[in-house]
Symmetry: D2
Amino acid sequence: MASSVSAKPFLGSSAADSVSAFRSLPSDLSRPSLQFLIRTPASRKLQIKAAGSSFGTHFRVTTFGESHGGGVGCVVDGCPPRLPLLEADLQLDLDRRRPGQSRITTPRKETDTCRIYSGVSDGVTTGTPIMVLVPNTDQRGHDYSEMSKAYRPSHADATYDMKYGVRSVQGGGRSSARETIGRVAAGAIAKKILKEISGTEVLAYVSQVHNVELPQELVDHETLTLDQIESNIVRCPDPAYAEKMIAAIDAVRVRGDSVGGIVTCIVRNAPRGLGSPVFDKLEGLLAKAALSLPATKGFEFGSGFAGTYLTGSQHNDEFCVDENGRIRTRTNRSGGIQGGISNGEIINMRVAFKPTSTIGKKQHTVTREKQETDLIARGRHDPCVVPRAVPMVEAMAALVLVDQLMAHYAQCCLFPINPELQDPLSLSSARRGIEFAPSEEIANQL
Amino acid sequence: MASSVSAKPFLGSSAADSVSAFRSLPSDLSRPSLQFLIRTPASRKLQIKAAGSSFGTHFRVTTFGESHGGGVGCVVDGCPPRLPLLEADLQLDLDRRRPGQSRITTPRKETDTCRIYSGVSDGVTTGTPIMVLVPNTDQRGHDYSEMSKAYRPSHADATYDMKYGVRSVQGGGRSSARETIGRVAAGAIAKKILKEISGTEVLAYVSQVHNVELPQELVDHETLTLDQIESNIVRCPDPAYAEKMIAAIDAVRVRGDSVGGIVTCIVRNAPRGLGSPVFDKLEGLLAKAALSLPATKGFEFGSGFAGTYLTGSQHNDEFCVDENGRIRTRTNRSGGIQGGISNGEIINMRVAFKPTSTIGKKQHTVTREKQETDLIARGRHDPCVVPRAVPMVEAMAALVLVDQLMAHYAQCCLFPINPELQDPLSLSSARRGIEFAPSEEIANQL
Amino acid sequence: MASSVSAKPFLGSSAADSVSAFRSLPSDLSRPSLQFLIRTPASRKLQIKAAGSSFGTHFRVTTFGESHGGGVGCVVDGCPPRLPLLEADLQLDLDRRRPGQSRITTPRKETDTCRIYSGVSDGVTTGTPIMVLVPNTDQRGHDYSEMSKAYRPSHADATYDMKYGVRSVQGGGRSSARETIGRVAAGAIAKKILKEISGTEVLAYVSQVHNVELPQELVDHETLTLDQIESNIVRCPDPAYAEKMIAAIDAVRVRGDSVGGIVTCIVRNAPRGLGSPVFDKLEGLLAKAALSLPATKGFEFGSGFAGTYLTGSQHNDEFCVDENGRIRTRTNRSGGIQGGISNGEIINMRVAFKPTSTIGKKQHTVTREKQETDLIARGRHDPCVVPRAVPMVEAMAALVLVDQLMAHYAQCCLFPINPELQDPLSLSSARRGIEFAPSEEIANQL
Amino acid sequence: MASSVSAKPFLGSSAADSVSAFRSLPSDLSRPSLQFLIRTPASRKLQIKAAGSSFGTHFRVTTFGESHGGGVGCVVDGCPPRLPLLEADLQLDLDRRRPGQSRITTPRKETDTCRIYSGVSDGVTTGTPIMVLVPNTDQRGHDYSEMSKAYRPSHADATYDMKYGVRSVQGGGRSSARETIGRVAAGAIAKKILKEISGTEVLAYVSQVHNVELPQELVDHETLTLDQIESNIVRCPDPAYAEKMIAAIDAVRVRGDSVGGIVTCIVRNAPRGLGSPVFDKLEGLLAKAALSLPATKGFEFGSGFAGTYLTGSQHNDEFCVDENGRIRTRTNRSGGIQGGISNGEIINMRVAFKPTSTIGKKQHTVTREKQETDLIARGRHDPCVVPRAVPMVEAMAALVLVDQLMAHYAQCCLFPINPELQDPLSLSSARRGIEFAPSEEIANQL
């Protein structure tokens, strides 16, 4: 059997014809459709998860918790002091991420109401670790009883066992999308800092679901708003394509299957100078951040993979001076990043999500006892993850940018900046008259 | 003019038609072809570079040096003791990276001969920082005199100025491909460790140059060898396609233009269990590593962006048991990684490189004094970076894997492993009878 | 000579004569005893705390929370999987740290009952972040109303304001001993790992309170037990000296004053080879860990400051071979650490704690409005911190050792060890027949 | 014999009588004075050293190299750009550290001339990794032939073998004082930054050699100068005590023995607000830094161990307002640090160094083959390390302060500071009219 295993090369993105070839692929396999009795799993049923749970150096986020258990959340260490912050600031994005928000997401019911336990006092951050906790409420462990016997295909079950040597059941533990609650909460803080410091906005939307691709020219990144994105349940800013995407999801949902798609994310008014020239290039940090989300398969920014078809003279972004005397690029194939460092143009990126691996169709697999078997997953799942992935991608991008903003401040703003070449970070903030006074709603509480 | 700047959306990978549209794009711009006298730059001519120069946690690499100056190299801290290591081990990969190795690379002449200054004694690593230095020999600073006046389009010139506030000339400092010497040297050590511990091999090759795409079925990842890759100057394992790729590079080389392409990288016999479930997913770490290389635009693994066109039932990799009683997957759309953790199948990834931004054609740009001007780069450059990027991609992948191997060992092998679910890392090594004795050539020196 | 040692207080900047004047100093000062109306502080009353809230690289602890607020606790990331762990394991040490445990500690009442929210399943660690939360229950914010107007001398009030620019009241926020709950909980896990892996024990006790010094010869570090330490409320293993220490505390307690003291900590059966030769010397890591505890003023190990009075021939520890054929030292002035690395002898260290800065006596100080004033602290406080510091010192030592154990494993046990020179870490564990089975109490739950 | 090994408790600082008792201690041991033939060591003679070779987070120093080999040095990553820097700036401190500088240091001859390979251009830092290399020139490996057979008492020989499993000879590899060259070079850069940013000065001096203790009142920390310290070869600012110290060193030097001592270090004009409240308290970071130097046994700051003899009312530093309207403390038992954070007063600390372990007297020890033997070290060594330790302690303190300065900047200066409570860091710099122009000597080069 080993040869049949190894004979299947992975699929690259560029080969259009290989997509169609792909569809006929599973039927090629001559798999023995063994049926057998699975012996009852032992009494030790463990959830499994792991290290690598912190992100960032200066604005450092640690998430904890799993799909089933007391709850999930995060600790943010290193948040600048004196930032107005309320639980409502986090809840907004948590509600965008929440399961059960529409018919195209998992029917699992969680209100995902967060509480800030530390680090905020009288509505203002104090510089301390901010601990945010969201209790779990709708746990149906029995849904997973069958899955605990067998490795779900393309899921984390098998690899967690290989790594930790304990058995992972009940929602996949840390591989659950529920872990991303801590990221979205921390990301909401990061987005607020970016907005205050430099008017920077991070916006993501769905640009592809299965075969439905939103043409680029239908979205103007200069004027795109959160309202446009949130105007429909699939989070595509174009209403007509949103309908097509919803239809594509409904089509697979009813037959227990799933589809993938692409989330596009932009950063508008990004400060210049973020990132660094070598290992911490801004694009590398964004790629790691994006591909740390569940179900991701690829990342590109600027011209991306399509840029490989161009020549240098076609691809280069020529410089010019705009009406405000600022150095700009005429085109933006660089995606707002040159040499690993932001240049002030719109940062854009695209993240590929595979179809959800948990599906309601019968699949062949093996049990932990290495017996071949069939599996039909009964847990609730999203037929397509991209609508709920939108706030997750925004959060990860914002976490990268705040962390790099602070790194830049530490190294390059210690001495007075060189005004001929550099823009002050705080200028835009000062320009906008922000004074970090308690907001009105806070003032009313005092 | 600001509106024309902002009106150019970035280019995504999937839109085939946008590729053709793209080509006519530069001519669309109504750019004032101002010609003017550029005032002499001030006497302070600085090279510029920056922090973020370390990679990895356990096997920690710090690179230093720039294109022009005393030399370049790296310090590797945390290397396991008792690994046989000679300068020749590093030189092999440095020669694959070296400029001037063929007519399709930059004619800059550097022998790139490395010397190990510390951390190795009597041909064996001692656990200490390994410092490797490669002196610079062929510096032609005067080639850059004109470029020092103006920002080269899509190069790091402008962003370095924005970040550091000092002037970057003479080869772009840390943005030079010369910085990657330290990575390739460290990567050679990492590859040797992987080979010893688990028979793991890291191999990369060129799978696309401009419009020439190597069909996947022409390469068998199970049997691919370094010799096949090194059999031609473009490093494509298929001789016929190699010729086409070389022709494509020659076509742009003669007219001073450049092209991009794709490097595919595989990891064979990767240990199971590397990576972790949340922020340090193996794919995220590999993406960051790959996109920290100069000129990269995108990363995908397994089914990648093409995987978004499939349904879950088409995409999932079913499990089976192979002839050795090991759990395997029948297909490998997961690219050897599930839930952020390696599953023992071949890890595969594809990295997109843009066309080299330094070209010999006239381009419009601005000077540091914010005057519009024209620029024709006279420095030596690669018409296509991908042939020399092959050892760089291998190096970065190997650095990630060794670092994760050590992390896994620290957390998950402290207590005796669970043999029902886990494979011992050292088994394969023991099985192969490796005893870490000094190799024959070392013994002769003693 | 001790008197000469202690008679020379390290007194800093303000003056030579203040040395002799030291004890009578406050009355010497001709301070204008201005009495004035303090203007009401603004309505923004913030608790303040900060970054730097994580400890360790592999076994990584992040604490959160402050004296007043929702609660305090920690997240432990990187804990090895498959370690039996119950809340009761943590509660034991939390009870030793708890306020209100005796008449010589602060009367603040907190049960400090912990709950594990994540990372443990069916009584076994799973490798995931372990979040431990202890809610605050006995908050008396009004006790601090007066202190909010003025900086308490030698407390963190002033420096927190200088750093964060927000006002710190209500128990001093993160400077509260309450923050150490998270450390003690994490330390309990670390101690359990050390015990399992190598039979390593970490024990601390009070060896000095004010002028009462426990003679070294009264404690045998080879046989010292936790029961001996816990046999009295001051945690001194010698009953007679314990009485003297308690009397010394009572003497200052009744007049609202405070005293300092010394905690001695030993590590028995420490694995050989922990620590590293340069910046991460084991003694440096232990010193940082100890001096991260509130109210600490000094750290020494082995011969310590007294060792400076010896010659090399008096000080050196000669090597010998013991009855088991193991290399040992005859004396232990090295304190179990040579060249930054543990040698298997008992590690010993002494940590100096200053007298508690919060006292019930009138002191001169200034308000935040820079007006001189008088202050009598009314908050509850410990007359002497050392009895409750004992489990804190143990916890910090254990956190260092586990982290270094994992670091050593990652770098130096990847390849088969060299049995002629090295001891296997897991040998002792295997020798003691530990199988990491669920303990009996857990088994009963299943 | 094991019991005799374990019966020797470590010696604490306070016990006066134990000091005298200590001197007769070695003679108490009934050691079998076995004499035997040592078999020739195997041909593999390795130097050994290790990980943990990086220090700092933002201003990150990595040292490399060992006593014998190509050379030693460091890489500094994260240095702020636009700092004037010449090799001469580093050489000044390297000369203070250099062996052979006087009769009371090791006669080993090394000029220790440094070269900057990267990161500085036209006399100004560029933000890139600064690599500094000092070649080794006076290697006498044969001096160590005898020592390679046996573990030198209280040296790193045995523990390095235990950790790495390879044999350490030839100067002890990374445990050599030669490793500190990289620290001193990096520290010189750090001192220059501190001076520029805030007029901060870091000065250390010898305050004790063996039994010769410099009375505190003889040094005024407010006015102490580098010239006073450098006015004699022992680096004690009081000429009379300097003579006594030199005599004490000469006394042991002639008979092949060694003595220890204490280095006092102060930081004047330290910015307020450096350090953080929990794990990264400034005192903890300084302690780790100091105890990472070879031969250290203890660290204290402010009142130190002597502070344990005071009551809270005696110990507290009362606040007042100085003539410039700034909040100050009347006394400085806090040593310039309260709650882990600098308060602007003089930071002071004392570091204990043991007598050099390498001595010219016969000692009993064991060989690597576990045979008891005698040893007389023949390598050149310092009879007392403290005179050369002075620039090392300064360097480590400066590295901590710069790193914390950058951390503070990243977190707490991102938003406009609160002028009522906080001082701007750059104020003092601006006030002193520093403009970061190229210095005159640089200007002349241009």
